[in-house]
């Protein structure tokens, strides 16, 4: 359904915990999923059962910044992205990437994955375990065996 060129169509997005967000259509369609729903069903109120309100707010913040009509300075955008993502704890990043995946916002998924990878890169096993709150459930023998298996990667 095409919008009238001058008017800005507004869409309401509703999270599973009943929070509603009113956004411009141009912002909402950054999500391929939402775009398809609008095109197929022409809804103005879209329920999103897989996203909670807190996370949806952050996703909308990202999409808003990345859809301002003018071609924003790419330097500025990059700065926003870095600040937006670096400031978030890992559990929050995971929530956002899962939401972005569900909503099919490819650029956001890629960026978050890179940021998560940055938190793993060049770290020792112990550091990764601590950052991601992982419990070691290997026996010492198992761990030794796996280290041997992967010795080639550490040369």
């Amino acid at each position: 359904m095409s919008t009238k060129s001058q008017e800005k169509q507004l869409i309401t997005l509703k999270s599973w915990d009943e929070e509603e967000f009113v956004v411009e259509e141009s912002v909402a369609v950054k999500s391929e999923t939402i775009k398809n729903i609008i095109e197929d069903c022409g809804l103005e109120l879209i329920p999103l059962p897989n996203v909670d309100g807190k996370t949806l707010a952050k996703v909308i913040e990202y999409c808003t910044k990345h859809s301002t009509g003018s071609n924003d300075d790419s330097e500025d955008l990059k700065k926003f992205d870095d600040e937006f993502l670096d400031s978030k704890e890992i559990p929050v990043l995971i929530d956002i990437v899962l939401a972005a995946n569900y909503l099919n916002i490819e650029s956001l998924v890629e960026k978050i994955c890179t940021k998560i990878a940055d938190r793993i890169k060049d770290m020792s096993v112990e550091e990764v375990r601590e950052a991601f709150k992982i419990e070691n459930d290997f026996t010492p023998e198992e761990e030794k065996k796996i280290r041997n298996e992967h010795a080639w990667a550490f040369e």
Partner: protein, 631 residues
């Protein structure tokens, strides 16, 4: 969220794979070590296919084919990471016409191909096949471990010379052909000498194996690399040569017809699908055959199944043979040998009750004198002597010390990182090492548009031979940039020359031009050979090589480098008006379409150390192209 690991585990496979895309293999391995669930996620084929893709050694299409011969993409990644530093151009000073070995991917392998000094045929560089000979292959096993095969030819027969690959230094710049003593391998690979295999029964061999299995891998490695071990490179040239001769004369496998075809695909996937598929099938079978030969020492003969006769480890030669050969061949008998004890080690059978290691130690004692400790003391004593016999004893002691650390010896490829000095773009090379040296190659970049490998010929129009000159010598030039006295220079270093007798030393700069100094010379021609108008983009001033003081010290004369349409370079000598035209080479593509010619005998095939100014690689009859014949 309860447990932290559910953070990463909450990610669907695809997302997890995207996360791992920017991680190194080491990081992924660390992830696998975190906990069981992450291990299961982290070892998946999806994650490791991504890792293999990131390495960018072969396109994904090839990876999908290679997967059929390995146990997992993780194993494939292990192999690729191992051999990646070997890929590139390796050179040697000798012969002066050029010794260029290009190491490129094969099929679950990398192949070292020597480009033969040659002339361009009538079809030019694009369509005329380039001549090359196989030097070595490093093939990956199903578990990702690597096997080394040296290629060589002896009396009209092609052979593989199997050996091991030492852990490859990531920053390696020298490839050394060496001999390495080893402890008996276990895990089912038994080492027997043919002469006493029938004396050892299966029980004894199994007992030896079992006692080894308790030792962890790292401990075994430490045992081999005892600090007292003399490295191969410390031995005298004569000893190194001798050891290589002995091993290559005894440890070799005839190349079966079925394995003497392609070493790598003849087309790039996507260009000719049918041919590509056929090549993949052939290469897959060939590689299985090679691995079988590597482990069993020959093609398996069905119907012969003698459980007592385990085949000897085809990459190793037991040392009793060596000591015989060494002592026989060059009068090694020095003051260290006890007179009259020759009999001690020639009759192996008399010691059948002892274990193998005990046996070797005993015979060695007899060769080296009453006790082992006498070696080091006599070493010290001898080194103080200035007499030649003292030096000889020292060298013999070194050789025996070298051989002492194992019961077998075998061929090994050692990719190591050494301090190399360069003269402009060419490494300064140690004369007596059986080595190939890495040529640092830079990809074109901003400000370095013409860096890389170019192929050139003399004369105009470029590439096609004329009536008067039926064969045009093919030159390989490496173009690189250098800062010198405030000037940015573009240097064209000659690494291969297709003439019959070399004009200038290997590694000479054919031209050096100043990037900041445009030339005002006019390009002598308006059109190319096909009468298309020429678009001369740029011209630089500089100097081109000329005869100087003897062969070793060429001079230079003024000239200009012209850039024509970005794909063609032409250097013209101002006075003589000689023209050297160059175009970029994609060596991998050229070799795929190339024509294979026979190799040399194994050691010479790896590193030809005898000084030569002519084409030593062309000792055979053929071919469609004109081949510069040896004098």
């Amino acid at each position: 969220m309860s447990c932290g690991s559910s953070l990463l585990l909450a990610l669907p496979d695809d997302i997890f794979t995207i996360v791992t895309r920017t991680l190194t293999p080491r990081d992924v391995c660390n992830l696998c070590l975190c906990c069981r669930s992450l291990y299961a996620l982290g070892v998946s084929d999806k994650v490791w296919l991504t890792q293999c893709n990131v390495l960018d050694i072969v396109p994904q299409r090839d990876l999908l084919e290679w997967r059929k011969g390995v146990s997992s993409y993780r194993a494939l990644c292990q192999f690729l990471v191992c051999v990646q530093p070997l890929i590139g151009i390796w050179v040697h000073q000798n012969p002066e016409l050029g010794n260029v070995v290009y190491v490129m991917p094969g099929f679950i392998s990398v192949v070292g191909c020597r480009i033969i000094p040659q002339e361009l045929g009538p079809l030019g560089l694009e369509d005329g096949p380039i001549l090359w000979a196989p030097v070595f292959e490093i093939v990956g096993d199903a578990d990702g471990s690597a096997a080394f095969f040296l290629h060589g030819r002896d009396k009209e027969t092609d052979y593989f010379y199997p050996g091991s690959l030492k852990a490859v230094d990531r920053t390696c710049n020298v490839l050394l052909l060496e001999v390495e003593p080893k402890q008996q391998r276990n895990g089912g690979k038994l080492v027997h000498s043919k002469s006493f295999a029938h004396h050892l029964d299966k029980e004894l061999s199994r007992r030896i194996c079992r006692s080894d299995s308790g030792i962890s891998k790292s401990e075994r490695v430490d045992g081999q690399n005892a600090s007292s071990m003399v490295p191969f490179n410390k031995l005298s040239f004569g000893d190194r040569r001798k050891l290589l001769d002995i091993v290559t004369s005894q440890v070799r496998l005839k190349v079966p017809e079925s394995a003497n075809g392609l070493l790598f695909a003849s087309v790039t996937g996507g260009n000719d699908d049918e041919k590509f598929r056929q090549d993949m099938v052939y290469l897959c079978e060939r590689r299985s055959l090679l691995m079988q030969m590597y482990k069993l020492g020959g093609v398996c003969n069905d119907g012969e199944d003698d459980p007592l006769m385990h085949p000897p480890d085809p990459t190793q030669l037991d040392l009793s043979e060596i000591r015989k050969s060494l002592d026989r061949s060059s009068g090694f008998r020095s003051s260290l040998l006890n007179g009259g004890n020759d009999n001690g080690w020639t009759h192996c059978s008399s010691n059948k009750k002892k274990t193998l290691t005990g046996y070797f130690r005993d015979s060695l004692k007899q060769i080296l004198g009453k006790s082992n400790s006498s070696i080091s003391s006599s070493n010290r004593q001898n080194s103080k002597n200035s007499s030649s016999s003292g030096e000889n004893s020292n060298k013999h002691a070194q050789l025996h010390e070298f051989l002492r650390t194992g019961d077998t010896i075998g061929l090994t490829l050692h990719a190591s990182s050494v301090r190399l000095s360069f003269y402009r773009a060419w490494p300064n090379m140690h004369d007596s090492r059986f080595a190939l040296y890495k040529l640092p190659m830079h990809a074109p970049a901003v400000g370095q548009e013409y860096a890389g490998l170019w192929g050139g010929t003399f004369g105009w129009p470029p590439g096609k031979p004329s009536e008067e000159k039926p064969g045009k010598a093919l030159f390989f030039l490496l173009l690189s940039y250098e800062e010198s006295q405030g000037k940015r220079q573009l240097i064209g270093t000659k690494i291969l020359e297709g003439t019959h007798y070399v004009l200038h030393p290997n590694g000479s700069a054919m031209f050096i031009v100043n990037i900041n100094e445009p030339s005002h010379e006019a390009f002598p021609w308006d059109t190319d050979g096909d009468s298309h108008p020429l678009d001369v983009r740029q011209a630089f001033t500089g100097e081109g090589i000329a005869n100087g003081y003897g062969f070793r010290y060429p001079g230079s004369r003024p000239g200009s480098l012209f850039v024509i349409q970005d794909e063609l370079l032409a250097f013209i000598w101002k006075e003589s008006k000689a023209v050297l035209t160059m175009q970029r080479l994609n060596l991998q593509e050229l070799l795929k379409k190339g024509e294979r010619v026979p190799a040399l005998p194994p050691i010479a095939n790896f590193s030809y150390l005898t000084k030569s100014y002519s084409n030593v690689f062309a000792g055979f009859t053929n071919t469609s192209n004109g081949l510069s014949s040896p004098r």
